[in-house]
Amino acid sequence: MFNGRFTCSIRMKRRVFYPFLGTLTTSDGTGGRALSQFWKAWEKRKASLRNAALTQHANKSMESVPDTILSSSLEENLALLEKQLGKSDDLVVRRFTVKNGTEAALLFIDGMVDRGVVSEYIIRFMASTSVTYEKPAVNELESTDRLRQAIRNILSGNAVLVLDGQNKVFLNNTRGWDRRGVEEPKTESVVRGPRDGFAETLCVNSALIRSRLKDPNLRLKHFVVGQRTQTDIYVTYIEGIAHQPIVQEICRRVENINIDAILESGYIEQLIQDTRWSPFPQIQNTERPDKVVANLLEGKVAILVDGTPFALIAPAVFSQFYQSPEDYYERFYIATFIRMIRGVSMIIALLMPSLYIAFSSFHPEMIPSRLVIAMAAGRSTVPFPSVMEALIMETAIEILREASVRLPGPIGPTIGIVGALVVGEAAVSAGLVSPIMVIIVALTTIGSFATPSYSAAIAIRMLRFPLMLLAGMFGLYGIMLFIIIILIHLSSLKSFGVPYLTPISPINLVAMRDMVIRMPFRWLTRRPTMFHPQDEIRKGGEKS
């Protein structure tokens, strides 16, 4: 393989040379034609290998069920269905006789169906002669003669009714497993605002959106993703507001997902985002229906995934990770003030430890002289350079935070007290760290908690470690180098065609009204134009 590639590249070189002279004498041709051909062949080979692997993989999942037509014999059908499901023990086959004497069987998965519906409205209705109605009395009733669809319905919690002498089976909607109710979201609590959050069930989540947005233009597009999990997802948008190319792009990417399992919306987020190699989230997630509705009204697209309370919102820009739905529920002075506080806390969370390192080891002349004496006194017993001191403390606080997240509720605060207070105090008095360092670590941690979005806060938390290392190497110069790198990276990011830093660069004055400063609603008359909404007017007809 390698040998072949090598000879190919040599031949390629020779071929490049003559056509290149040729291009000078004849017309404008591309010099590296042979090189690009080589690349194309290589890409094609990679693609074909990948496709082969994928088809092999697909055979193992739902597509492995042959899409045959069912027969009209009850026994044959039952054998067919049971063979596909491998005589799984949670598969219930309830045989009974329908009132006109036909043999029937009801297949469902134990625990996934509402038992009351099954016994009361299917079996009793079909069997008892006192009821004149012929068919099962469930709210959704379909029929099919396809094996694959029958299997799929059994697996998603429907009861499949097979009648002898008919090659059509009835698919009854009996889904009714135990589910968590609508509760207050744990991760995004607000002081003022609605208390309901998404649950794990897709239809409940879509109903929560519908109940807030009684717009006939609200569209929910259904997709099934994941060969083995067959997860249902809804791509939600408002027709007439959302930019159609963005919607199409999202649908295209969702359709192209090729994975065996989707267990959380985070899978989808990582599979459809633009840049894989970025610490920053390019798609927002939220548990709050009101936030989803607000974003839909800005012309964005939401993706609801079955089995998780976290909905995705795309496209996302950087500034919206520092906004909370509460900003719109309070008066604009308060909202603006809180947004500024969040900005400051982000800067503290990112820069504080590295600024300490830079000041104390490179630029002590910048610190006021009294403070520098106090700092030197505090540091006099510390055996490490300030980089090491900061790295150790920051690592310790990250460990502490991770530990308290995993612990069950009542023990969590204990860890905080033991870790932060006892260990911190003891470390200072033992002379391991300086008191200033403890203050800085505490401020950093509190600062990173003030971010409304958890995933954006993680990115900031993570980036402060390389920043500390660079500050230890080059002082303030190093900090600035890294900030420029982050800014280059942020500028290069795009979320579904929308530049990530949008209201700031490229500058967008309409969207700026709702960035750091949340203008009063009187002035928020237009939707932010960066998402290219079709209907730009949010509020019209006001005469001034």
């Binding site: 590296g32 910048m366 610190i367 110069y477 180098l481 800014l487 500028s491 290069s492 660069s505 490229p506």
Partner: protein, 387 residues
């Protein structure tokens, strides 16, 4: 030319992005020595030098914008051959335009290297005394390479977002230092002969170098009409900043003292004390923030060189990435070429003279030829030529 229609990066720069691109490229290491270089010949009238010197710059940016407006969507690399050879004789045009293009690219390349070298010198003498000069230079180049790995719209957005970071510190320093101003220092207003003022103003033009990158970047303008406006805004902001900083230098130190310091602006920062601020001495913070200004100068220049090469050889993004990494080796050797700071300043003024050729004479020649051709075509067809 052929790939223009397919190029997704086409027509992406807004007016504001072009303005910030020009200003942030112009404002760089030049500001650090500007109060000294302008007062060298013009004494108390040094603060007029940026204003007078900008006349030539305004003319040059107007020429560049007009040329680019005549060939919308084409860079200097692409339209130069059309100017020289017309649409018919593209091979002749290529060979005739090659010297101009190479002169442009090489001069930009050397400017980039020297800029980073000067900044390295400043950093090493002022804040990071124990760090080798080479490390600072290389770290600057690494940033430039990281930018070059991205598409051209990223360049515009980076400049846009760094623009306030460049503008505010220098305005802050200039305004804060007026506390110690001795306004008598600028009197008498003019006491040197007019010839000296003209040479002084001409030499100040060197500190405006960098706008020649617009020979390339004007091609990506969002609207064809905003180019002249963007150029004038960009230069105008720089002139304002330059005048303010020279004025601050003169009124704080006086022109005799300015001649005795290597980095007068840095001294200005050192002497600035702002009551109520937590930080005692600002020069480290200023230099740290100034990294952004130097970065935009170095990276924009380097990007223009790499992009120019890419267009000259008609290659794609992959070539740009590889070339940007490979070319930092020669760039580094150019940067460490000058043995000491005296040689460095000599080289800077040498580059200044060359840049006049690149950014004034070359566009002027192109423009004249273009006018001649257009008129010839108009006479032939008897109809109006567009542009």
């Amino acid at each position: 030319m052929s790939q223009l229609g397919k190029d997704p990066q086409h027509n992406t720069f807004s007016l504001w992005q072009m303005t910030s691109l020009i200003t942030s490229t112009l404002i760089g290491v030049g500001v650090l020595t500007l109060p000294r270089t302008t007062t060298e010949k013009m004494f108390e009238a040094g603060w007029m030098a940026p204003i007078l010197g900008s006349v030539l710059t305004f003319f040059a940016i107007w020429l560049i914008a007009v040329l680019s407006r005549r060939f919308p969507g084409l860079t200097f690399i692409q339209y130069s051959r059309i100017v020289w050879g017309g649409h018919e004789q593209s091979r002749l045009g290529f060979w005739l335009s090659l010297p101009w293009i190479m002169m442009f690219l090489i001069a930009l390349f050397v400017t980039t290297a020297i800029t980073s070298r000067i900044f390295g010198e400043v950093v090493v003498t002022a804040v990071l005394m124990d760090t080798p000069l080479e490390v600072i230079i290389v770290s600057m180049f690494v940033l430039a390479v990281i930018l070059c790995l991205h598409e051209i719209d990223t360049l515009a957005r980076v400049n846009e977002i760094l623009f306030p970071l460049i503008l505010f510190p220098i305005l802050f320093i200039a305004l804060a230092s007026f506390q110690k101003a001795e306004w008598n220092n600028i009197l008498p207003l003019i006491r040197v002969p007019w010839e000296t003022i003209i040479t002084g103003a001409f030499e100040t033009n060197f500190s405006f170098q960098g706008y020649e990158i617009m020979l390339i970047f004007f091609a990506f303008a969002h609207e064809n009409t905003g180019k002249v406006k963007a150029g004038f805004y960009g230069i105008g902001i720089s002139v304002f900043v330059y005048t303010l900083i020279v004025l601050a230098g003169i009124v704080v130190f006086g022109h005799e003292e300015l001649q005795r310091v290597t980095w007068p602006t840095l001294e200005l920062v050192k002497s600035t004390q702002v009551p109520g601020l937590i930080l005692e001495r600002l020069e480290s913070a200023f230099l740290a923030v100034w990294v952004a200004a130097v970065f935009t100068t170095v990276a924009n220049g380097y990007y223009a060189v790499i992009y120019g090469l890419r267009q000259l050889l008609k290659k794609g993004m992959l070539f740009q990435r590889i070339a940007s990494i490979v070319l930092i080796f020669p760039l580094f050797f150019v940067a460490i070429g000058p043995q000491n700071i005296v040689e460095l300043f000599k080289m800077t003024s040498l580059i200044g003279y060359t840049t006049v050729w690149i950014s004034v004479v070359s566009p002027l020649i192109h423009w004249l030829i273009m006018l001649y051709r257009d008129r010839g075509r108009k006479r032939e067809k008897g109809s109006d030529a567009h542009g």
